[in-house]
């Protein structure tokens, strides 16, 4: 009476872990600036680099970074990509997306942002407009939440 062997099963489990992450004084001040459409970095007194977003200490010199600098809202594309498929955590209406690393004028590190403001579904158009070394400018949302998404996208400067 051999029964057909059942395939080993899975069970569904959902884990939920809500978090409240402390921003600390540096990032609190940084996001207050974002609400006012200002981008702040901090300068290391030892190596002189300006890093964005503002940081409490220099990751090379390990010195406190206490000098605040309002940086430019324009910069140069260091690298970019084109994502046109969904994966875990992305909804269909979130793609395609053109993420880029942007070096804001007067800073010494990359800023992560998404490029937009035109029909990015048209890849040929994206490839034509978006270039490494190309210039972009921040476009802000009207409603601010005090987070990096308050910058809606980075507009290509023709």
């Amino acid at each position: 009476m051999a029964e057909e062997k059942e395939r080993p099963r899975t069970i569904e489990a959902v884990g939920t872990a809500p978090f409240e992450m402390a921003l600390g004084p540096t990032w609190t001040r940084f996001f207050e600036g974002i609400k006012e459409e200002k981008i702040f970095g901090t300068r290391c007194k030892k190596c002189g680099r300006v890093l964005v977003p503002a940081r409490p200490f220099c990751p090379r010199c390990f010195e406190p970074m206490e000098e605040w600098v309002e940086v430019a809202q324009e910069g140069t594309i260091v690298t970019w990509s084109y994502i046109d498929y969904t994966y875990f955590g992305l909804e269909d209406d979130m793609i395609p997306v053109v993420p880029a690393t942007i070096k804001l004028d007067g800073t010494d590190t990359g800023w992560w942002g998404v490029i937009g403001g035109f029909d990015i579904k048209d890849f040929d158009l994206v490839a034509k407009k978006v270039k490494v070394g190309g210039r972009v400018k921040a476009v802000w949302r009207k409603e601010k939440r005090g987070c990096v998404q308050d910058i809606e996208y980075w507009k290509v400067i023709e």
Partner: protein, 79 residues
């Protein structure tokens, strides 16, 4: 047999509800104290061993990378 090891310095954060500083800020508070206690600099360190709760309970993946610079582990192996 293994090589002899010794604890040459320790550091702790102030205890209590600490929502006044970020996670890396908090790590840095203890690490700075440990460096000061041991009287060494990052140049004296070959590698860094860390311990924490599992990532999921910390609210982020690979949390050791999130505070690697706060541990002064930049450019060094982390275990």
């Amino acid at each position: 047999m293994g090589r002899a090891v010794g604890i040459i310095g320790t550091g702790q954060t102030k205890h209590g509800r600490r929502d006044d500083v970020s996670y890396p800020d908090l790590v840095r508070e203890a690490v700075n104290a440990a460096f000061e206690d041991a009287g060494i600099t990052p140049e004296d360190i070959d590698g860094v061993v860390f311990g924490s709760m599992p990532s999921m309970m910390e609210g982020m993946a690979y949390n050791h990378f999130y505070f690697a610079d706060a541990m002064r582990a930049v450019g060094k192996p982390i275990l």
